[in-house]
Symmetry: none
Subunit: 613 residues, 2 copies
């Protein structure tokens, strides 16, 4: 099957490469996208001072228009330029075009004009684009239990990675269903409604608008409102047998000069070291022969520094420094641009922007944009059989069979064992997945009528060297008057807390908050309007979050096996991403990667079949 | 059913005729085509010296863009002009437009501009077009033997004429299947693979790029590589009991002054006479009361001239001058622009350009562009029943019935007798088809490692007054290192040769080549790497090629019946074409004509039904 937009060269005419093609065609059911003429003007109506910047901004605006319509530059069918004072000697737009189109060459027309709508404008570009109209594809009807359905691709798991993969595969013209065990999409993103009409994210909650390009593009595509994470105000550190230490966001709690120096030394040394990791070949580095704890001890980390490292691994992965290899953590941090960036709540950081309607919106919107009926819920996969002929049969627990040419598995590696693979997974992959471990990760989200902590000058961010919650953050939606703190109950303190009764767990958190914010706030603290609790380890289809870790020896031995296809089966999921592992960004990137693998393979097969005729 | 692009006039607005319409619509599943702004620039980037030529070339480029996308000017939805130094007093583009659009009036916008992309350009035109997206139509599923299927139109025969007709009918919005007796498409075009990865055309092999507009358009549409027929070098004439006469291409073999004068007189007289024939009404002319041989004898043609005429009819039609009426041959020559042009291998000639991938590519590509499954192979038609209600049932040999509102018969007239027509064909048509005769036409194609004949200064073209091959041509693909001579074993010498054993036939050809090219080449000649032989008379579904001829009395009596519809049945095929009879060009033109007849008739019927509602 060909892509839905094809740009053609015409042998009998002058060569138009590399800038454009003389003609393009669309194919199959498509949605057309028409943009207004886009000019170089920012959100505030300001036109850049130079022509070059103006051209670049016009292209950027064009990109945003396409994004809002669910399209990309490769979907463009035709562009038209309108240029004031055009001179054939100044074709700066052609350079920007080449970068913007990234190999795609839609037909174009350049129209020199004497003026545009206002004198400040010198360059305008408009486009027609087309995307495959998935809503126009006949809906998929879920087969009755025991019956079967044939598709090009089956995706197992309707988390962000699986949905992104299925979306891309459908857009490329292949039939695809997603089989989801749960009764909802989103995987480890789950936005639950509050009694007062708000929403809380009991799973993944943050994106950013700079280095998380995929998530920010999705936010633009779905026109989602973003909430900037507040870091103005004091933080509090919860320490043993003392009053909470108050410190500014970005600083180190005031343990005392020597401890602070030790923490800073350990932190900065680790930051520097993690940047030496090649995320595409992390196993080339050393550091996989030792746990992170032992590694830090070798660095001479003192008690406070080790405690700080524990907060990192607990908050970031739900595990203890003794449970994962130093290399794993170095690579993990590097995947998000470094320890500091990954941990940051500010611009470029991992926890910078929330979604007003909750992060599950991403998955819901992607699913809504797909072929009707193609995301099949409550369909846990029990078996994946691969025939020698290069096709597969995916069977769900009720005995329904899905015949497919390709399968994309988008579930966490530790849950592979819930599926019978026939033939079995390769030994390397088995070794990797059976040695991967998901940490303990829970969120308790408490809602109040008012953000009482702010009166005391607090931003809501706390750290704890005691527990049960290692970290808290303000997750309020001020605009709608919803106020909440989210407590990350993670790692060993989380495991201990988990054994308490429900009432005991709530009480433990309330008591910790009183210790952190002082008894003057106790009355407020103890009167939350609503409390949400989510222990991801108890979720059978996730078994933890955000991402499984490996102990020493696994990455260097079989790490490469993680994302390797196994015959017709491809593997995605945030843990398989090179960048932003454990984050939604990583999930989406891995989904794109898996889709690209499958599309390339299927397109080759199509080619072969055509060649036979 | 309406065409997929409709241009509408608006009663309440100023009249836009004859140049454009104010608005157009598209209908049904369509593929959209967008062109870049087309300027008057040739393949080498040269802009013509005059504005008029520049405008014409821009339209021509626009036409080529559409062609590459499988569209024609009548598919245009909207055009936009950009004109430098526009003056309402110079609207030359409007004249070109009228000719280009040929009655279609898409909406247009004229934009005067101060400049275009480079100063040499003064006129630019871009277009949006739409064609019916046949790939988006639900595939046709061949009914099981004995079952039935209902469609608007059944086409009998998947040669070029039938495929072109079916393609046009599907494009116009009607359902249509093609029933083909063979296990392949292409009819009398058949491209077979050689052992060394090349291809040989055992059927029709040449087109040109000037007066064979349909074939050249198809070559552009399918982006086919063309090979110019070589005429540089010496030709050789094979004469009785003498050494071969060597002559330059285009000259007459050096028989001697008197003979040459006679041949030239006969040739030029016939050339002049054939141009007096009105190809739409050839029966108005005399010359149908005499065979071509008797006609030539009356002109006082000597032995050598008569021998030359024999080579014409043998090479062009596989028959002897005594077997066809003079009028038939006059009309046949005129249909290809005259005797000289039809016989020419040079620019404008009938044998000017070959297709690197073989001429069957045309049929394969047309079939691929049609509704999936709509070309049904191995389905020989045994019976066509027409009911009084104006519909038909076409039955194949396995008893499958195809119900249709119209039938297009695209098989050679002499094979009509293989089908039971009920009611029977009209008497005139029966008389015509039972008196039509297909000549003997065979090709033997010999491949060698090297083009040994070129060393001797030969171009590969030979004529024979002895046989068995009346004509040979170089049919090499130099670029890919495939070298071959194609021997046309035709007419009475061919019939005699046909009776030999396979080994005898090959030996006869090899011996002739040795006589033609000299014993110094014998070692090369006798070591071909591969030999192909195709005797079209033995092909049950063709019974000969390229085209049946008629003896005296038939054309003038019942010639008009040839292409007349019989109730719901329409007749196409290269022999029914007014232009380029016997050639692929004629086949395609006849297919277009048959489709137009059917589309008009069905559209009228639709109109009636609509009027009733």
């Amino acid at each position: 099957m060909a892509p839905h937009v094809t740009a053609l060269d015409v042998r009998t005419m002058a060569d138009c490469r590399p800038y454009y093609s003389p003609v393009s065609t669309t194919q199959g059911p498509v949605k057309f996208i028409y943009t207004a003429g886009q000019i170089g003007r920012d959100k505030n109506g300001v036109v850049p001072a130079t022509y070059e910047k103006e051209v670049e901004l016009a292209f950027q605006n064009l990109g945003d228009c396409l994004l809002a319509a669910g399209a990309t530059p490769s979907d463009i069918v035709k562009v038209t330029y309108y240029i004031v004072n055009y001179s054939p000697k100044n074709r700066y737009h052609a350079q920007v075009l080449l970068k913007f189109m990234n190999g795609h060459r839609p037909p174009s027309t350049l129209v020199p004009v004497t003026a545009l709508a206002v004198p400040e404008y010198h360059f305008e570009i408009e486009a027609v684009a087309a995307i495959r109209d998935l809503a126009a594809i006949p809906p998929i009807v879920k087969p009755a239990p025991g019956n079967s359905l044939s598709v090009d691709v089956v995706v197992v798991g309707a988390g962000l990675s699986g949905l992104q993969a299925a979306h891309d595969i459908q857009r490329a013209g292949f039939s695809c269903v997603v089989l989801e065990a749960r009764d909802r999409v989103g995987g480890k993103t789950w936005s639950q409604s509050t009694k007062d009409g708000g929403v809380v994210d009991v799973g993944a909650a943050w994106i950013n608008d700079s280095n998380q390009a995929r998530m920010y593009a999705l936010a633009k595509r779905f026109d989602l409102e973003l909430i900037e994470q507040n870091t103005d105000g004091n933080c509090a550190a919860h320490v043993p047998e003392k009053e909470a230490l108050v410190f500014r966001y970005g600083e180190v709690p005031a343990w005392g000069e020597k401890d602070v120096a030790d923490i800073v030394r350990i932190r900065d040394g680790f930051e520097e070291l993690c940047h030496t990791i090649d995320i595409r070949n992390p196993w080339d580095a050393k550091y996989d022969d030792v746990t992170l704890e032992d590694f830090m001890k070798k660095q001479g980390a003192g008690e406070r520094a080790l405690g700080t490292v524990s907060i990192w691994t607990r908050a970031m992965l739900g595990c203890e420094p003794s449970e994962l290899s130093a290399l794993y953590f170095l690579d993990y941090c590097k995947s998000g641009g470094g320890l500091l960036q990954m941990r940051s709540d500010q611009k470029d950081g991992g926890q910078h922007l929330r979604i007003r309607t909750g992060t599950q919106t991403f998955s819901k919107k992607i699913a809504e944009s797909m072929v009707p009926g193609s995301v099949i819920l409550e369909a846990p996969v029990s078996r994946i059989f691969q025939s020698r002929l290069g096709s597969a049969i995916v069977t769900t627990e009720d005995g329904t069979r899905y015949h497919a040419r390709k399968v994309v598995v988008s579930i966490p590696t530790p849950t592979y064992k819930q599926i019978t693979f026939q033939p079995p997974l390769p030994l390397d992959k088995l070794e990797y997945s059976s040695n991967s471990m998901l940490g303990y990760y829970a969120k308790m989200i408490l809602l109040w009528d008012k953000p009482w902590w702010r009166k005391g000058g607090y931003c809501g961010m706390t750290q704890s060297f005691v527990g049960p919650a290692s970290v808290t953050r303000d997750t309020s939606d001020d605009l709608n008057g919803h106020f909440s703190l989210t407590c990350f109950v993670v790692g060993q303190p989380g495991r201990d807390w988990s054994k308490l009764s429900p009432a005991g767990r709530k009480e433990a958190i309330l008591a910790q908050l009183v210790q952190l914010f002082g008894s003057e706030n106790e009355a407020f603290i103890r009167a939350p309007t609503e409390v949400f609790e989510q222990e991801w380890v108890k979720d059978v289809y996730s078994q933890g979050c955000p991402c499984p870790v490996t102990p020493p020896g696994i990455m260097s031995d079989v790490g490469k096996a993680l994302r390797e296809p196994f015959e017709s089966i491809h593997f995605v999921g945030t843990e398989t991403s090179f960048e932003w592992k454990g984050y939604m960004e990583g999930a989406v990137r891995s989904g794109e990667r898996g889709a690209a693998e499958v599309i390339e393979a299927l397109s080759k097969k199509e080619g072969k079949v055509l060649a036979k005729l």
